[in-house]
């Protein structure tokens, strides 16, 4: 626990470095960096009601990020959270749309099950391709994101299309009030409860079960656990499916909660921000809880900047990109590869 918090602190130091780089970029672009950071801080945390907005974004991001953590820890680079999130949202919308009129006590649980199952299925096929035939999961899950995005366009423009829609935005019919789990604000006992339950369960899974320890070992050296008698295919599939299920759950929450309907191309960066959270948190669940609030704040600020401060929302994209850059540099697999390469050439 202490170790993982230390790792988060170290990662946050890199975030500070990234912010410094962003400051330089802002200055060159003709904005005042201090003013920009002040506005971001205001929009994220300091203004009245800002915390509410930040937490609204933090909850689903945290849920998806825990899934990413499970998958990464077991050694599979499942970068398909975005697609799994979409499929979860789509499955939820199908259920809520076709069961419209049935009692909420039946429909809402079914929506959750559908979202979780949809996300899980969207992670299952790259998982099977990986463990059965060795297909690179980075490629397959990334492709899965594109396919899911296109399916989203297809269903919101087709079977799920809201006939009364304006035509400018393709979207499903609004979810009936009886099935909503939160208002537009996006913070409700159901959503906070779901995030807390997921957080606790995943923390226990990672830190207090045989699976968690073995998956951690497998993620760092799968050969070793194979020689101990573990079946990597099972561990791997479990990691994939769990990761997808949690991203799907976040999709359900967005549709039944703050969004209230399924919009074509909504939240296109959700899955990637979740990956960033997982990496900044050093693949620790407790760390991800803190880091999610930070990134939730940034997401919230990106809405605040153009509307109330008259500053470009792209500033938040720049910050996210810079953080991604520095976190990747910290891992520096390329550096190790380069030196090994040089050694080999020199020896020859």
């Amino acid at each position: 626990m202490k170790d993982s918090l230390l790792a988060v602190a170290r990662a946050l130091a890199f975030v500070v470095l990234a912010l410094a780089l962003c400051g330089v970029i802002f200055e060159f672009a003709g904005y005042s960096a201090p003013e920009m950071f002040q506005s971001i801080a205001d929009g994220a945390f300091l203004n009245p009601g800002a915390w509410e907005g930040s937490l609204r974004w933090a909850m689903p991001l945290f849920i998806t990020a825990t899934g990413v953590i499970i998958s990464f820890r077991s050694g599979y680079f499942n970068v398909g959270a975005q697609g799994q999130f979409y499929i979860g949202a789509i499955a939820t919308t199908f259920v809520v749309d076709f069961l419209n009129g049935y009692p909420a006590a039946l429909v809402v649980p079914l929506c959750f099950i559908a979202g979780v199952a949809g996300g899980a299925v969207w992670a299952l096929w790259p998982g099977l391709l990986r463990v059965r035939s060795g297909a690179d999961e980075v490629i397959t899950t990334l492709m899965g994101n594109f396919i899911a995005g296109l399916i989203l366009i297809y269903v919101t423009g087709g079977v799920l299309k809201d006939p009364s829609g304006t035509g400018q935005v393709m979207a499903s019919r609004p979810v009936a009030a009886a099935y909503r789990i939160s208002s537009e604000v996006g913070l409700s006992p159901t959503i906070v409860g779901a995030a807390v339950v997921v957080g606790v369960l995943m923390w226990v899974l990672v830190n207090r079960t045989a699976f968690g320890v073995l998956a951690g070992l497998a993620g760092r050296n799968s050969t070793m656990v194979v020689w101990q008698g573990a079946r990597m295919s099972r561990l791997g599939i479990a990691g994939f499916v769990l990761g997808g299920a949690l991203a799907g759950l976040a999709g359900t929450i967005e549709v039944l909660g703050p969004n209230g309907r399924l919009v074509s191309g909504f939240l296109p960066a959700h899955g990637f921000t979740a990956i960033l959270i997982a990496l900044v948190a050093g693949l620790s669940i407790s760390g991800a809880a803190i880091v999610s609030v930070f990134f939730g704040g940034l997401a919230s600020a990106s809405l605040y900047l153009p509307v109330l401060a008259g500053l470009p929302a792209a500033a938040i994209d720049i910050i996210n990109a810079a953080i991604a850059l520095f976190i990747t540099a910290r891992a520096a697999p390329g550096l190790g590869w380069l030196t090994a390469r040089r050694r080999m050439i020199r020896g020859a």
Partner: protein, 527 residues
């Protein structure tokens, strides 16, 4: 070789270093070593693992920069830690683990080992260019063969040929005999004597006294990074004296019984192991019956391998590396499929049983690759230690990590592992301690069959003696032990029985007293 001959040597030494010290972090690898080698002789540098031999070779070749000291080649001082300068002065090093790119052809390896390769070349041009060179050295390898397809001995030949493409005056070989069969070693030594006759100074890093006495003109002994003695003419010393100075007086008592085997000073005969007490008649712990596997990237397939190991018996597998030993271990671990035949563990057919279940029945494996198959280096000690037990129950059961940490702590103390905390990464342990961590995990009260693959490779004398003691203790408790090693001294010392593998078959079986000549002949199929 006599002292008089040494005195006649010209004053310009082929390679001379003065007061060399090398520091790796907090570890002093070499401390004030001064050595001078006369030209046109074969010099041996000996010592245990960790004595600083390889570091010395790397300093001499300009790969490692010492913190202090000077290096002179042929009487001319050159800057230390500069490979280019060292090579220009005529020093070439053949690494212990071969360094040629596996995907290169032999001709390509030669071309790009040359100091100034041409910017444009044709395949045929390359082959024409290097044909003669290889023929002169008596290396039998096709110029078009890829390095990875060559047998070990040919690979080493190509490595040496590569080192000699430039006008090498000093050739350093780091543990060249480790991968060779006894007859391959003889051929290597013939080749080195030929080089000596043609005016090359050879420096051999070795750890076996028998080999030193067989080929070298002078010998120098390193211990704990310091020069103990040398270079002295081999005629002026003997096996007893050398082994005493390699091991040192203090360690001697602890390992007295195994001393000869540890320094490779056995004449090759005798050494009867403790005879197993009528164990073989009882039902065997392991029985392999005509097991056949497919060949794959890691080695040849097994061809009708049958092997029985009884309770309280240590059986050794000898053989030149790459003759199916790895496949043998992998088929026992169910990591490669047996196409036909049967594997019985404690009388139960486990041919189709997954590894987890075989382990639950008492199978334990100390794998070949300590750092990849044995341990997850970036994971904590307690996680590495607990892995076997964690796999025994359902994956989702709740565990208490602090219980495992305490149990790991107690177990590692019992096995005399030197560490700071069970939370530290396994990669921070030294080779000997890392191996003890694996032993602590694999040798427990429930073990019935222990497979130890190269269990002492890279360990110093103390750690090696420790591993042997652990395996003998396991035998005393009634375990069956299968040990795979390329070190015949090791096998002769602790095995009750030795089988020899060649091209995926078991071709011979020996019982004590072992004779080096017979076992060596079986290893190369020359009997």
């Amino acid at each position: 070789m006599t002292k008089a001959m040494l005195a006649e040597a010209p004053t310009a030494f082929a390679l001379q270093c003065r007061d060399i010290s090398v520091q790796y972090g907090e570890v002093a690898a070499l401390v004030g070593v001064s050595l001078a080698f006369a030209p046109k002789l074969i010099h041996a540098v000996v010592g245990q693992n960790g004595a600083g031999k390889t570091t010395f070779a790397r300093v001499a070749a300009g790969i490692v920069k010492p913190v202090s000291g000077t290096l002179a080649i042929g009487g001319r001082e050159i800057p230390t830690g500069n490979v280019g300068q060292a090579r220009a002065a005529g020093v070439e090093l053949v690494h212990q683990s071969f360094a040629l790119p596996p995907s290169f052809t032999v001709a390509e390896s030669m071309e790009f080992g040359a100091e100034r390769g041409r910017p444009v070349f044709s395949r045929r041009g390359l082959e024409k260019r290097w044909q003669k060179h290889l023929e002169n050295l008596g290396v039998r390898a096709g110029l078009r063969d890829r390095i990875r397809d060559l047998p070990v001995e040919a690979q080493q030949g190509v490595e040496i040929a590569r080192a000699l493409v430039a006008d090498a005056k000093v050739l350093i070989l780091d543990e060249p005999t480790a991968v060779l069969s006894p007859s391959g070693i003889e051929k290597l030594f013939e080749r080195l004597k030929g080089l000596k006759a043609s005016g090359v100074t050879v420096i051999l890093i070795l750890h076996k006294i028998r080999e030193v006495l067989g080929v070298a003109d002078t010998v120098s002994v390193l211990r704990g990074g310091r020069l103990v003695e040398g270079p002295i003419a081999v005629g002026a010393t003997n096996a007893r004296r050398l082994s005493a100075s390699i091991i040192g007086v203090q360690a001697e008592k602890e390992i007295a019984a195994d001393e000869a085997a540890l320094v490779g000073a056995t004449a090759g005969d005798a050494l009867a192991g403790a005879a197993p007490a009528a164990a073989i008649n009882a039902a065997p712990v392991l029985a392999m019956q005509r097991v056949v596997t497919r060949a794959d990237s890691e080695g040849p397939g097994l061809e009708e391998v049958s092997l029985r190991i009884g309770r309280g018996e240590i059986v050794g597998v000898a053989g030149v590396e790459g003759n199916g030993q790895r496949t043998l271990v992998r088929v026992l671990a169910n990591l490669v499929e047996a196409r036909s035949g049967q594997i019985l563990l404690e009388g139960k057919d486990v041919t189709k049983t997954p590894l987890s279940e075989r382990r639950a029945r008492g199978l334990r494996i100390i794998p070949f690759e300590r750092n990849s198959e044995g341990l997850s280096l970036s994971s904590a000690l307690w996680e590495n230690w607990s892995a076997r037990q964690l796999l025994l129950g359902p994956a989702l059961r709740l565990i208490n990590p602090s219980w495992y940490r305490n149990a790991c702590d107690a177990s590692l103390k019992e096995w005399d592992v030197r560490y700071h905390t069970t939370m530290q990464a396994a990669g921070s342990l030294s080779g000997g301690n890392a191996q003890k961590l694996i032993l602590a995990r694999e040798i427990d009260a429930d073990a019935s069959l222990i497979i130890a693959a190269q269990p002492t490779r890279g360990l110093d004398v103390g750690a090696t003696a420790f591993v042997w003691r652990a395996l003998r203790d396991a035998r005393a408790r009634g375990c069956a032990v299968l040990i795979i090693s390329s070190d015949l001294d090791e096998l002769f010392d602790i095995c009750d029985r030795i089988v020899v593998m060649l091209s995926g078959r078991i071709v011979a079986e020996f019982r004590p007293p072992y004779r080096l000549g017979e076992v060596g002949a079986a290893m190369t199929g020359a009997h």
